[in-house]
């Protein structure tokens, strides 16, 4: 949980409420955007994403929150990738907001251009979101993205990270985790799967640009994500959200496990969820129920070679060490006692008073 939270992420019902989308016992404004029948449904029914697609879900979560924050006055620029392909097979579209498709690598630059055009026309109210997958963002679009950050263009860029080039057939990207099998990193040899010592952390790269706002999030914590999008839309300038989204196809996981896996990614420490401002991390989501990485890995066939035919305890230990390092580095476990007390007080007030 993050400190000082005006939108209700901290709010804990004993039943549900802090984690579920809504709660009939809460006032409407304390429920998530996704709980509202008035949500924008930025990406509507009939899209061709796979069953249980985390990216389709994440995009709706994020854009609906941005639509609410801007009163629906929003334009999206979208890199090539799954999100574009499954949502917009010409001439059909699932998008329910002004939306422009660009090349694989230039979505940040196109978003910058849209923002510049609006400025040139004297439009100060319409806001711009750029978005793409990890391939389009972490690899191919990195230069355009870095330029957008460096110039401070008034764009929120959202990376939907499903950890490989899923659209073209699951090739490794710079965001693919070590040891994961992809079509370009087969599960063979002494170090099977994606190589160790490569890849990059795009969120920390964004943070290093000292832009006003950087955050990571997952589709496993809807309220946290909505709060971060809301925060991002309240600021002008270049902003970045790195959202972990599950890919049942590329990860080899049951479609019904998409949210569970996103949750496990944070609960194991493999995907730290944090918020940064102008170069500094200012808040971190604490792990609620710490899990060993094995619980996360064993649900995905991209890691199956770590368990069969021979169990690779050495590789699992190496992945665990990576999670442990995250826990240590980002302080994913410590609980600030003062903060805890505060939240309990708040809870009691909410539980008892309403």
């Amino acid at each position: 949980m993050t400190p000082a939270d005006p939108t209700g992420t901290r709010l804990k019902f004993f039943q549900t409420g802090s984690f579920a989308a809504g709660n009939r016992l809460l006032d409407a404004e304390q429920r998530s955007v996704q709980a509202s029948p008035e949500r924008a449904n930025a990406i509507t029914c009939g899209h061709r994403a796979c069953q249980g697609c985390g990216e389709a879900l994440g995009a709706r979560y994020a854009l609906d929150a941005a639509m609410r924050a801007t009163g629906g006055d929003l334009i999206a620029a979208n890199a090539t990738g799954c999100l574009e392909v499954f949502s917009t097979p010409y001439p059909e579209s699932s998008w329910q907001l002004p939306w422009i498709h660009s090349l694989f690598g230039n979505a940040p630059a196109v978003a910058t251009g849209v923002a510049a055009a609006l400025r040139a026309k004297g439009n100060t109210h319409t806001r711009v979101v750029g978005q793409g997958g990890d391939g389009g963002t972490v690899d191919i679009g990195m230069a355009c993205l870095s330029g957008m950050f460096e110039r401070g263009d008034d764009v929120l860029y959202i990376c939907y990270d499903n950890e490989a080039y899923m659209n073209t057939g699951v090739q490794r990207s710079g965001a693919t985790p070590e040891a994961a099998r992809t079509s370009t990193t087969q599960a063979v040899g002494e170090e099977p799967g994606a190589p160790w010592g490569q890849g990059k952390n795009a969120a920390l790269i964004a943070l290093a640009h000292e832009i006003p706002y950087v955050a990571t999030a997952t589709i496993g914590d809807l309220r946290d994500l909505e709060r971060k999008v809301q925060s991002a839309m309240e600021i002008r300038g270049a902003r970045y959200i790195h959202l972990l989204v599950t890919c049942p196809l590329g990860w080899g996981s049951p479609s019904s496990d998409s949210i569970k896996l996103a949750r496990l990614a944070t609960e194991t420490g493999l995907f730290p969820v944090w918020e940064g401002e102008r170069g500094d991390i200012v808040s971190v989501s604490k792990i609620r129920r710490l899990q060993p990485v094995e619980e996360y890995l064993k649900l995905q066939t991209r890691f199956r070679h770590l368990f069969s035919p021979t169990r690779r305890d050495d590789v699992i230990a190496r992945i665990q060490a990576k999670a442990d390092r995250n826990i240590e580095r980002f302080g994913l476990l410590e609980v600030d006692s003062e903060e805890l007390e505060h939240s309990e007080e708040q809870e009691l007030r909410l539980e008892g008073g309403s």
Partner: protein, 563 residues
């Protein structure tokens, strides 16, 4: 629009993906279900606990109370004396601690008395006359439900006041009499007539002379079993049931027990007797029990409260002789089968009075020689509708083979009322009460409910941890010296807080999670809610199963499509 009117390189009109019905991809479909929550499944009175907690969570106390009253006319009584198997079964215990269902029930019952909520008598009467013999929990519960079904009910009991063991077996400090009177009063207000101090020596004669269509026998187990103990002529030996009755109704004032009292037995009645002895002025109140603590039949809470009041227990001991002011006690050991065996090691114990709490027996002389009625092991044999072998004569509560608690008796009363009603209408239901009888008709989703929901079927991630709201307890010293109520009730905010800990096992709690997590917007929020709060849009649902997986309460199931 012709292609000439379109911008450069555009040949088709813009379309929406809504034209693409992705529902055809589906091999499994999500279905909202309603399952039995373990609390309701375990309730001997058949309360649909989850459903009334649902109302209580919203502060709908009267609605919650009415849902209890569909099953059990004694929420305030049960909120005090029930051993709450619901809490033992509660799935929440596997997350932190069981929901304090009993406390909330008591709060609702007390609220009803304070607010004067009443139950409407039925508009139409059937004209059928039913005799209920015994005004204990089984008889009163049957009378209540029979009256609601439109029958004319007459309750007869040998005691001067209604309540049976609730009045004459459970001490005041556990069940204040104004509470009992208030809840019995409501049954009286439904038009049930009470003929008290009225002994029924022969049930068949009574049925005939009163021209009754059916009889419900619920005379309870009101005799103390007397274990044979060699006793000197001056030894003072009484049984616990008589002691508890005399404290309540004795014309000679409270019984004189002396300074040192020994109670023989290990059940709840032994605890009640020992605690009552203490309140009557005994300095020492000792429970003597043959086995060990883990084998004691008394409920843990009863034992704990007794120990807190300074009652002592001599484990692994039997009384071999009682003399004036003194008992001879033999040390026991448990053999391989857990049966106590004498050691030949004796000790003496000072005791002015020995109270025997070694079980209770039925007095079934009123059915002696009645054709068709079978008595086995001092209990009447009944079928699933609680009818005896004699047409039109039903029996329930402690006179039938069952666990002897007030709540079981209350459940029997309802089952018998339903059985009698069916019998009078000529409906054959050999299975007796069915699952649908225990599903609240007023709940979300259609009854009957299917199987019980176990903890792994829930997604416990969505429930935050919470401390248990503990009932404030009176100081032990104060409790031991008066008959004031021992366990205090919850105030409103605490009751609400406690009700909201319910995880709504197997029943939709309208948390919007399915609506939120569907990647295909294929969950529709119904306003106003229909049978459920949501519906699935099967034109677009791809059958990914995320909604079912992320449902906190296990109220969505994936079912294979017929292909």
């Amino acid at each position: 629009m012709s292609s000439a009117d379109k911008p450069f390189a555009i040949t088709l009109d813009v379309g929406s993906s809504l034209a693409n019905h992705t529902g055809s991809w589906r091999t499994e479909r999500p279905v909202y279900v309603r399952k039995t929550a373990p609390c309701g499944g375990a309730c001997p009175a058949g309360e649909d606990v989850q459903q009334w907690l649902y109302d209580a969570e919203e502060g709908g106390y009267e609605a919650a109370w009415r849902k209890i009253m569909e099953r059990n006319p004694f929420p305030s009584v049960c909120g005090r004396v029930c051993y709450h198997p619901c809490e033992t079964a509660c799935n929440r215990a596997q997350l932190d601690e069981a929901v304090g269902i009993n406390s909330v029930e008591r709060f609702l019952g007390d609220q009803a008395i304070a607010e004067g909520w009443t139950i409407e008598p039925p508009r139409e009467l059937t004209g059928k006359r039913i005799l209920v013999v015994g005004a204990g929990p089984a008889g009163l519960s049957a009378a209540y439900h029979l009256a609601l079904l439109g029958h004319t009910v007459s309750v007869r009991d040998a005691a001067p006041a209604a309540g049976g063991m609730l009045r004459y077996g459970i001490p005041k400090y556990r069940l204040p009499r104004d509470v009992l009177d208030a809840e019995i009063g409501r049954i009286r207000d439904l038009g049930v007539s009470f003929e008290l101090s009225h002994n029924v020596p022969d049930v068949v004669a009574e049925k005939h002379s009163g021209d009754f269509d059916a009889v419900f026998l619920a005379v309870g187990a009101r005799l103390g079993s007397r274990t044979y103990i060699p006793a000197g002529s001056a030894a003072r030996v009484i049984d616990a049931i008589s002691l508890l009755r005399d404290v309540e109704a004795g014309s000679a004032g409270p019984p004189q027990l002396g300074r040192r009292v020994a109670v023989y037995g290990g059940g709840n009645t032994a605890m009640d007797a020992a605690r009552t002895a203490k309140r009557l002025g005994a300095d020492d109140s000792v429970v003597i029990y043959r086995r060990t603590r883990d084998r004691m039949p008394a409920h843990e809470s009863e034992l704990m409260e007794a120990l807190q009041e300074g009652i002592t227990v001599k484990w692994l001991s039997t009384i071999t002789r009682a003399d004036s002011g003194r008992l001879t006690v033999e040390k026991m050991v448990l053999d391989e089968d857990g049966r106590p065996q004498g050691t030949g090691e004796f000790e003496e114990l000072d005791a002015d009075t020995l109270v025997l709490a070694t079980g209770q027996q039925t007095d079934l002389s009123l059915v002696d020689g009645v054709d068709g009625i079978t008595v086995e092991d001092t209990c009447v044999t009944v079928d699933a509708n609680l009818m005896t072998g004699r047409e039109g004569i039903f029996a329930g509560g402690d006179v039938t083979p069952t666990e002897r608690t007030a709540t079981v008796a209350i459940g029997h009363g309802r089952r018998a009322a339903l059985g009698i009603d069916r019998w009078l209408r000529g409906i054959v239901a050999p299975g007796g009460a069915t699952v649908s009888d225990s599903a609240s008709e007023t709940g979300i989703g259609p009854a009957p409910m299917s199987e019980e929901v176990q903890f792994p079927a829930l997604n416990s991630w969505y429930y935050s941890d919470a401390p248990h709201a503990v009932r404030p307890q009176l100081e032990a010293a104060r409790r031991a010296s008066t008959f004031d109520e021992v366990v205090q009730g919850l105030d409103e905010s605490t009751a609400l807080f406690e009700a909201r800990r319910c995880m709504s096992c197997g029943n939709c709690l309208a948390c919007d999670n399915c609506y939120g997590v569907c990647p295909d917007n294929a969950v529709i929020k119904l306003d106003p809610p229909g049978a459920y709060a949501y519906a699935f849009d099967l034109d677009f649902c791809k059958g990914c199963g995320l909604c079912a997986q992320e449902c906190p309460c296990g109220a969505i199931e994936m079912q294979p499509e017929q292909i």
